[in-house]
Symmetry: C2
Subunit: 496 residues, 2 copies
């Protein structure tokens, strides 16, 4: 057995165990009764330590070095696999098992308290748990930064966005923070002049909304033999490629939120499902990073899902499932409704013109919290000030402020920028897909997503982690990330 083959065996075991973790995390969010949290925390922490031990074993450096020496006999996929094996080893071996278990447990405990603190609007209650998480996250970041030779923030970011750098993100985000508010004002003025779209009147029973969501998932090509739709407080996509679990949440007064949640998460699910099947249990078979993952959900939700073509398909279906009729349910009115810009307090409900401003705020705040320029006690006020500056509205309560997102409470720091990197990548990928498949939008209007999905399968999903994010974008669109495509998309859709 070659050193490389031994590594493949090791990683196969690792990904089977990580799949178990993913299933338990889905259960935590979608099924678990509240009293199960402590036991589940123990299970997850034990599993993460096992994964750590598999990956940070003392023989790994030697195996990696010997496999590097065998590079000549490896095909390009195997070579890419080996590169990512080492990358993962660097991340994991920087930590010791104690720290892995401590962060896992602290995140579980904090996330559990957040679930109750958020509806209670009680930041003070969860703040000590968040302080514990932040302290451990900084410890993790510092340990990884020392190995990777980068800043603490970059070390955390690298886990979600391999090769990402705060120094590259900051100017892009600063430019967005400069151009988006005046753009938003122009859009708001234009929409005010045109008058408000009509709002379909509810209530829309959850069961009918869910049936509509399932029908739309089927249209998007979701494979129900390999996945499910459920409900959770914070919509997400979990599980493994052969068993993808997506969730949404329902508001009986407004069916758009749940439905667009379903379309968004189906985009994530299709990425997972389309990953190269031959590499399921190897690093090269995994999603490339979270900005590309988010590009797939936003491509579905924002680029395709709020296009006139999609709403032409959706309007009769929505009327059928929700029993609607009249002008409010016409495709053009739904298009106006679905592309309404309305700067608000909640990130996950934000329109695509406002959304980056939410992300920029979180990026700035988490960097300040990581490097110590901001304390957790100061966070609520900094959030309010930042919202006023970036979005133009300030939350009257922490529930709609710094308690709204699960990420920090759950231990995910350095994750937020991938949302907006993803939005820009989505615009660029959809633009390229429409050029390559000229009939793509006409097909969507007929409920046929095959041309779009075929292009994504070939150029994104099926590539796994063979290429870097940058090289994948070049391969798929002819150039690296180009924020101008996103800007042009916003101009065309909202001011065109």
């Amino acid at each position: 057995m070659t050193a490389y083959d031994q590594l493949e065996t090791r990683f196969h075991r690792l990904y089977a165990l990580r799949g178990a973790i993913a299933a338990l995390q889905w259960d935590w969010a979608a099924m678990m009764p509240s009293g199960g949290a402590e036991a589940r925390s123990e299970q997850l922490a034990a599993l993460k330590v096992v994964c750590h031990d598999v990956l940070a074993g003392p023989d790994l450096p030697d195996l990696l070095d010997r496999a590097d020496a065998e590079r000549g006999q490896l095909d390009p996929w195997q070579q890419a696999n080996l590169v990512d094996m080492r990358r993962q080893w660097v991340h994991e071996a920087a930590l010791d098992g104690r720290l892995v278990a401590a962060l896992s447990k602290a995140s579980s405990v904090c996330e559990h308290h957040w679930r109750e603190a958020r509806p209670a609007d009680d930041y003070a209650r969860v703040q000590p748990y968040l302080a514990e998480v932040l302290s451990l996250v900084r410890e993790v970041g510092a340990a990884k930064a020392a190995k990777l030779g980068c800043s603490v923030y970059d070390a955390l970011l690298d886990e979600y966005e391999p090769g990402g750098h705060e120094a590259e993100i900051e100017p892009i985000f600063d430019e967005l923070a400069r151009v988006l508010p005046p753009l938003r004002e122009r859009v708001l003025a234009r929409q005010a002049a045109a008058g408000a779209p009509l709002r379909p009147q509810g209530p829309f029973p959850v069961e009918r909304q869910k049936a509509l969501g399932l029908a739309v998932m089927a249209t998007l090509g979701f494979d129900f033999a390999h996945g499910r739709l459920d409900t959770s407080l914070h919509p997400f996509c979990g599980g493994v490629p052969d068993d993808v679990r997506i969730t949404t949440r329902y508001d009986e007064a407004d069916f758009v939120k749940a439905l667009m949640g379903v379309v968004h998460e189906t985009g994530h699910a299709q990425y997972e499902r389309g990953l190269p099947a031959a590499w399921r249990y190897q690093p090269v078979g995994q999603p490339r990073g979270m900005s590309l993952h988010e590009s797939q959900s936003l491509l579905m939700e924002m680029q395709a899902g709020r296009s006139r073509a999609f709403l032409t398909y959706l309007a009769p279906l929505a009327r059928e499932y929700l029993g609607g009729s009249g002008a409010a349910w016409e495709a053009e009115n739904l298009y106006r409704l679905y592309t309404e810009v309305n700067p608000g307090l909640i990130r996950v409900d934000a329109d695509e013109v406002t959304y980056p401003s939410h992300v920029i705020l979180r990026f700035r705040l988490e960097r300040a919290l990581i490097n110590g320029a901001l304390t957790l006690a100061e966070l609520p006020e900094a959030w309010r000030a930042g919202m006023l500056e970036l979005v133009g509205v300030a939350p009257p309560s922490d529930r709609d402020g710094c308690l709204q997102d699960i990420h920090w409470y759950d231990g995910a720091w350095g994750y937020f920028p991938t949302y907006t990197l993803g939005a820009m990548s989505a615009a660029q990928l959809f633009d390229a897909a429409c050029r390559a498949e000229p009939g793509l939008l006409d097909a969507i209007a007929l409920g046929d997503f095959a041309p779009l999905m075929g292009w994504l399968r070939t150029h994104v999903h099926g590539q796994g982690s063979r290429l870097s994010t940058r090289d994948l974008l070049i391969s798929a669109t002819g150039r690296p990330l180009d924020p101008a495509v996103f800007a042009r998309h916003l101009e065309a859709r909202y001011l065109g």
Copy 2:
């Protein structure tokens, strides 16, 4: 750190990982889409190998010996814990990781094929997978038998029923096989003379049945902050004590099946939930064995759940939830319906007079399959012959014959006898509880299970694995297992 303390740390980790396995197995049966089976098999096999490695580590024998030398400083719970630590180590260390992984995967694959073979009535389709499972089970049994110094069947039985012996079970079962058929005939003659009870007419929508089941679970004291009710093909109780997952299945023409399934599984759940909280992650905190586990479900379902007292409580509730009225819904009629003896093909639907005959058949067949006296090709015919002899009816198809139970296909061999050992233990425990708490049945008639549950918490649940099954029965009832109590119960209920 003493050797004993080191062992506690080791077992804490083991039970956290086993809790993860339990959650994934629940998901498999209750939630997982069919296409997820292969990935889940990989996850479960990887986890079982991890558990094996934790328990069969090379330092365990030395730790156990050193802890034995420290016995003088251990309290009785710790001493009992140490005894079971060694017992578990003997079972696990008898195997190597390859065999553990092979049996786990073969069982997952076979169970998955069984799910499709059963409705298709296609034993031939699943037989090769079952052959693989049986071959590995025999290998496991032989390896354990060599360490335990017992027969292969006893080695398998010991996993479910510590200290159980086929040589002790056989005469009990032979005696039951002798006395039950004539008893059944007398009951049938008596019931025929009395005329059939009235049958409430459906359909009974699943949602209403589920609501009734949840109400009954609440009455029985099920803690919904620490558990859930879901649906699966084969009802079961899974999860961990702080997050107990029970399932049932629904028949819209007959609400009794699902409801009694709920009562049965709630009995299991209450045992889990009542285990000593201080010993959650240690062997001594676990259920003592499957016959006691089954005694708790059957005590709820058969002893309490089909008593006149329970049906007095249930009748108005069933009318309310299912919209029934008239003579069919009166308590006395429901009592006659719930104690109807009707020898049939399906074990899980069997009345308590017929049930042991099903178990005796499986006990005989699995022993013959294990020791080679019977082949899997001969199984369907042997099943038919055995049913004719023991129950008096023969299945027209394998779907209602040797394909009906999940156990063998899922790798559980040596499990079946615990059902009838449990039925006998249930009769003995309920008899003792009624003597100790004279108002127990009157309370049940008012929907108050506190007296019964209090007695069970003290005498059974809270004991964990501190005592052997035999000693626990003596401690709770004053004597070891006495089949005469079960016989008296049947005589009193069905011929009294």
